[in-house]
Every structure is written in structure tokens, then in C-alpha cells.
């Protein structure tokens, strides 16, 4: 296992470098003078001042040198300054990332808590009404735009029924009840796609496992059905669910960008969108990098968990 871990970690180094290179390359996509873009709008600058900025951001140097300087700063936690707040990007992002993380984890937990039992029930009662309902939900859940699901939830539970707040964020550690009430709708909206996918995955994995010989043996030995399903079948059926984890992290982060906008949640996604309109480029670049790194870590974690659960992986790779 240790050997596998070391090999995986070494493999990630080139990927990490390429990821940072891609994020850095965003700067090259800015049309016109990047010096102007970097200080933000509304600043009338003469050529002399622009020259100072070019020096400061090393824009006068070759691209690869710029990348090297940028990377060495990023590694030390210097993501540049936000042009709208005149503060370090990382400080601004840090507090907001915490909000995004709360919603992301909650959505992920919610998705698993609903999807895994639903997928199992669906497989066990294959072809019956419960299975059809679960399948219908999982098909719909993948096709529905998550933010539109959120809007419709606001319409029903916020506007018509008035049960839940439609907007805003309350810190759950300061006011647990209001905090939870504010979290319910966005978390459902954020988790729906993942929930549908995991449900589908669990169902088909479970069906496959239930057809295996060892399950038949367990039944033949006279084990009760809950033990067969809960102990023998479930363990193997959950393997493919783990692989979905890495993929879903990206989905949930990307989802946060939109869902936070719908519900007015002051998270990282919302902050990045506002930064686009404020032409605060460094904030967007920093946000993209942090999110990409989070997805990369989740992928790595998934691989490691998978290898730990299924020893065959360690040797086949």
C-alpha cells in the first residue's frame, strides 16, 4: 500500500505542474494589454505607470519566466492582490471557501445518504413500483439543471408555501436553526445531480453483485436476507460508488458557482462570479486554481481509498 501511495503521489507531480500552467495560461487569454486588466477598471493610467505595473507583474519578461515567478509565489501562498479590495487574493478567498466547503460537504453527505439506500432498495425490489420511482428520479436528476431545480424549490417552498428562506446565508455555528433552514434548499439543489448518479451506480453495482455465486452461497447457508444484502453484497457494491466521489467533487464545486448565485450565498463561487463583473482577474485566477487543486486532491483520495478497499488495484496499475 505504501509503495502504491508513493507511486501515486509521484504521478501527481507532473499533473500538478500542468494544472498550474493551465491556470497561469488564463492570463495569456486576456485580449489587449494585460497590465491594464490586472489593475482593474476605472484606473486611468499613463504609459509610465503601465510600465511600473509591467515591471511589478514581470510582464516584461518571457512567458516561461513569468510562469516560474508566478508559480514560486503561488507555492508560498501569494495569489496576487484583488484589484477591487486591494487585499491579498488568498485572504479574500479563504473565508469564502469555508462557506462553499460547508455546502459542498453537506450536499455530498445528503446525496450519499439518499442515494445509497435508494439504489439498494431499487436493486432489491427490481422491476417493482419502488424501483421505477427511484429510476425515474435518477433519470430526471441527471437531466435537470441544478440551479433551475433550486429556483423551482424556491418557488414552491419559499414563495408559495413560505416554509423556507429563499435567499441568504446564516452561519450555522452562530444560529444553528436559522443556519440549517437557510441550507436546506441550496444543499438539495447542489446535491441532486450527484444523488441521481450515485443512485444509478449503486443500483447497477448491487444488481451485479446480487447475481454472484457467493451471494447465492450465503443465501444457501441460510443467512437472513438483511445479512446477505447488508453484509455480503453491500461491501462490494459500494466499490464503484467510491469512484464517483472524485468526479462528483468537481461537479459540486462547479455547481457551487451557480447555486451560490441563485441563493445569494457569500461563498467562493459567488465571489468569483462577482469578480468577473468587477474585472478582478486575480481573484478569478486564484479561485480557479484552488478549485482545481481541490478536485485533484479528491481524485487522489479516491484512488487511494479504492486501492485500500480493493487490493487488486495496487498490483494491476
Amino acid at each position: 500500500m505504501l509503495q502504491y501511495m508513493i507511486r501515486r503521489l509521484l504521478q501527481i507531480v507532473p499533473v500538478l505542474l500542468i494544472v498550474t500552467l493551465m491556470v497561469f495560461a488564463l492570463m495569456l487569454a486576456i485580449p489587449g494589454d494585460p497590465a491594464r486588466a490586472l489593475v482593474g477598471p476605472g484606473e486611468a493610467l499613463d504609459e509610465e505607470q503601465l510600465e511600473i505595473i509591467r515591471k511589478e507583474f514581470n510582464l516584461d519578461k518571457p512567458v516561461l519566466v513569468q510562469y516560474g515567478i508566478w508559480l514560486s509565489k503561488v507555492v508560498r501562498g501569494d495569489f496576487g492582490r484583488s484589484s477591487q479590495y486591494q487585499r491579498p487574493v488568498l485572504d479574500e478567498l479563504r473565508t469564502r471557501a469555508w462557506v462553499t466547503l460547508q455546502f459542498g460537504i453537506a450536499a455530498w453527505v445528503l446525496a450519499v445518504v439518499i442515494a445509497v439506500p435508494a439504489g439498494i432498495i431499487s436493486a432489491v425490489y427490481r422491476g417493482r413500483a419502488l424501483d421505477y420511482i427511484a429510476t425515474l428520479i435518477s433519470i430526471g436528476g441527471v437531466a435537470i439543471p441544478n440551479f433551475w431545480f433550486g429556483i423551482m424549490a424556491i418557488l414552491v417552498f419559499g414563495v408559495y408555501l413560505g416554509w423556507l428562506p429563499a435567499q441568504g446565508y446564516v452561519n450555522i455555528f452562530e444560529d444553528p436553526i436559522e443556519g440549517l433552514r437557510h441550507m436546506i434548499l441550496p444543499v438539495f439543489a447542489l446535491g441532486i445531480t450527484s444523488c441521481a448518479l450515485i443512485m444509478r451506480q449503486t443500483r447497477s453495482a448491487m444488481l451485479e453483485v446480487l447475481a454472484q455465486d457467493y451471494v447465492r452461497t450465503a443465501r444457501a447457508k441460510g443467512m437472513s436476507e438483511p445479512v446477505v444484502i447488508g453484509v455480503h453484497a453491500l461491501r462490494n457494491a459500494l466499490l464503484p460508488v467510491v469512484t464517483v466521489f472524485g468526479l462528483q467533487t468537481g461537479r459540486i464545486f462547479a455547481g457551487a458557482v451557480v447555486i451560490e448565485t441563485v441563493f445569494g450565498i457569500p461563498g467562493m463561487g459567488n465571489f468569483m462570479v462577482l469578480a468577473i463583473f468587477a474585472r478582478d482577474f486575480m481573484v478569478v485566477q486564484g479561485g480557479v486554481l484552488i478549485m482545481a487543486l481541490a478536485v485533484l486532491s479528491a481524485n487522489l483520495l479516491t484512488d487511494l481509498i479504492y486501492a485500500w478497499l480493493d487490493p487488486r488495484i495496487r498490483y494491476n496499475d
Binding site: P14, I18, A37, W148, P240, A254, V273, I276, F281, L296
Partner: protein, 284 residues
């Protein structure tokens, strides 16, 4: 490749009810997008200040928005954008991803390593994130949206081609072709490419649905294609503040997105089952 097997696939696919439903929905949406000016005489950008925020009515069948613009007309013209983005983005993914995958299979060794590490890195960026980054740099527009979603499609296509290629390369008929003196280059085009087409078609269909969702999300956060051009996403953005006054405005475009994505998914799933049932685990 003759047309015979493809007709056979089509027949088999259409026998699956979900796929038939999906194809019908797709055909309807494609036709209404193309023939939008003939279906409705209303101009999607024309304001009608006598009929603001209407529900179903005679003047505006699907209602009107806060500027009195006709929702049906905007929906139909928005379908054009949705289809252009999904076709363009997936096309871009195929055009770049497939050759990369082939080069990877053909060259093996360190070139394969380099290409695959770049693909690993690309996978880390959800399409929405690429789009947000590009929109910040270049501004939101049709090409930006297509490029952003297209880039996100590249690694999946390349990976599929590569994994197919690796399997096929081990097969006897490839060994036979090699022994017969066929060049690697010809082997790729005669054997590996045709045998990899099926999963690429399946992935493309499913990716088109995902592209529609991403385009809508971008439109909704305001960094996609900019108004006054109607897109389903920016329609939802403009409808959102009016949610309690005229919910129909928010319901209609969302339903359209849902239906189109559902159609793509149904057809994609059916094609996968028909073309190659073994692909179930491979394609996301």
C-alpha cells in the same frame, strides 16, 4: 463503413421507447430552432409595453417578460444557441480529443505519457470552471462558451480512444495485420479508429446534454452569451427577479433545458446499450 450497419443500429435504437421519445424531442427542438421565424411571427427582441409579464395569452402564447418580449419567440431562438453550443463544443472535443487519443495509442512511450498527463490535468477542471476563467479573461460570448465547454470534452474523448485502442491493439486481427506488413499508421485508420467510433458516438451524445446544462448555467450567472441574444440560460437569469410575479417566465426555459438534456441522455444511453453493452462502466 457502409450505411447498412448504421441503419441497423438506428432501427434497434428506435425500438427502445426512451430513445424513440428522445429522438422525437430532438427532432422537434431542431426543427423549431431552424424554422423559428415561420413558427412565430414575434421578434424575440421586440418589446411590447402593453403586455408586460403576461401568462398564457392570445398575444403571447407562452407569456411575456418584464419588457414585454415574447417568451415563445425567445425560447425558439434560444434553442438555436443551445444546439449550436452543444454541437460546437462536442465537435471541438472530438476534433481535438480523438487525434490526441490516436497519437497516444500509436506512439506509446513518453509521448503517450505526456498526452495522458495533460489529459489528467484537464479533467481536473469542470467545464463551468474553464468557462468562468475564460469569461474573466475574454468576456462571455458564443465562441468563448463553445471553446470552454469544448476544452472540457477533450480529455474524455482522448481517454476513450486510447482505452479502446489499447484493447484492440491486443487483438489477433491487429497482430495479423502487423505480421502481414501493414504499417502502424494504416492499422490505426483501418482497425483502431473504426472500432473506436461507437463509444465516441455514445460519449458525444451524452456530452451534448451536459453541454446544454453548462451553457444554461453560464447564461444564468451572466458570463455566457450576452443579452439581447436570447439563450435559455440568460432567459432564466432575467426571469429570476420576477419569480414571485410571473413564475411562468422561470418555468418555461427550465423545462426546455430539461427536455433537451433528457432527450440527449435517453438517446445516448440507448445507443450505448445497442452499440456495446460492455461500455456501461466506461462512459460517464
Amino acid at each position: 463503413m457502409t450505411s447498412r450497419p448504421s441503419i441497423e443500429v438506428l432501427k434497434k435504437t428506435m425500438r427502445i421507447p426512451q430513445a424513440a421519445f428522445g429522438v422525437v424531442v430532438m427532432v422537434i427542438i431542431v426543427f423549431s430552432a431552424i424554422f423559428a421565424p415561420w413558427i412565430t411571427s414575434a421578434d424575440p427582441e421586440e418589446m411590447d409595453f402593453d403586455n408586460l409579464l403576461q401568462g398564457f395569452s392570445e398575444e403571447h402564447i407562452l407569456g411575456s417578460d418584464q419588457m414585454g418580449r415574447d417568451t415563445l419567440a425567445r425560447l425558439l431562438y434560444g434553442a438555436r444557441v443551445a444546439l449550436m453550443v452543444s454541437l460546437g463544443a462536442v465537435g471541438l472535443g472530438v476534433i481535438i480529443g480523438v487525434p490526441l487519443g490516436l497519437v497516444s495509442v500509436y506512439c506509446r512511450g513518453y509521448i503517450d505519457d505526456i498526452i495522458m498527463r495533460v489529459m489528467d490535468a484537464l479533467v481536473v477542471f469542470p467545464s463551468l470552471l474553464i468557462a468562468v476563467g475564460l469569461a474573466a479573461a475574454m468576456g462571455g460570448s458564443l465562441p468563448t462558451v463553445i471553446i470552454a465547454i469544448g476544452i472540457a470534452n477533450i480529455p474524455w474523448m482522448a481517454r476513450i480512444i486510447r482505452s479502446q485502442g489499447l484493447t484492440i491493439r491486443e487483438q489477433d486481427f491487429v497482430a495479423a495485420a502487423e505480421a502481414g506488413g501493414m504499417s502502424h499508421f494504416r492499422i490505426i485508420f483501418k482497425h483502431i479508429l473504426p472500432n473506436s467510433i461507437a463509444p465516441v458516438i455514445v460519449q458525444s451524445t451524452l456530452s451534448m446534454g451536459y453541454a446544454v446544462l453548462t451553457e444554461a448555467a453560464l447564461g444564468f450567472i451572466g458570463v455566457g452569451i450576452q443579452p439581447p441574444t436570447p439563450t435559455w440560460g440568460n432567459m432564466l437569469l432575467q426571469a429570476y427577479p420576477m419569480l414571485d410575479q410571473q413564475p411562468l417566465l422561470s418555468i418555461v426555459p427550465g423545462l426546455a433545458i430539461f427536455l433537451l438534456v433528457l432527450a440527449f441522455n435517453f438517446v445516448g444511453d440507448a445507443l450505448r446499450d445497442v452499440l456495446d453493452p460492455r461500455l456501461k462502466g466506461v462512459i460517464h
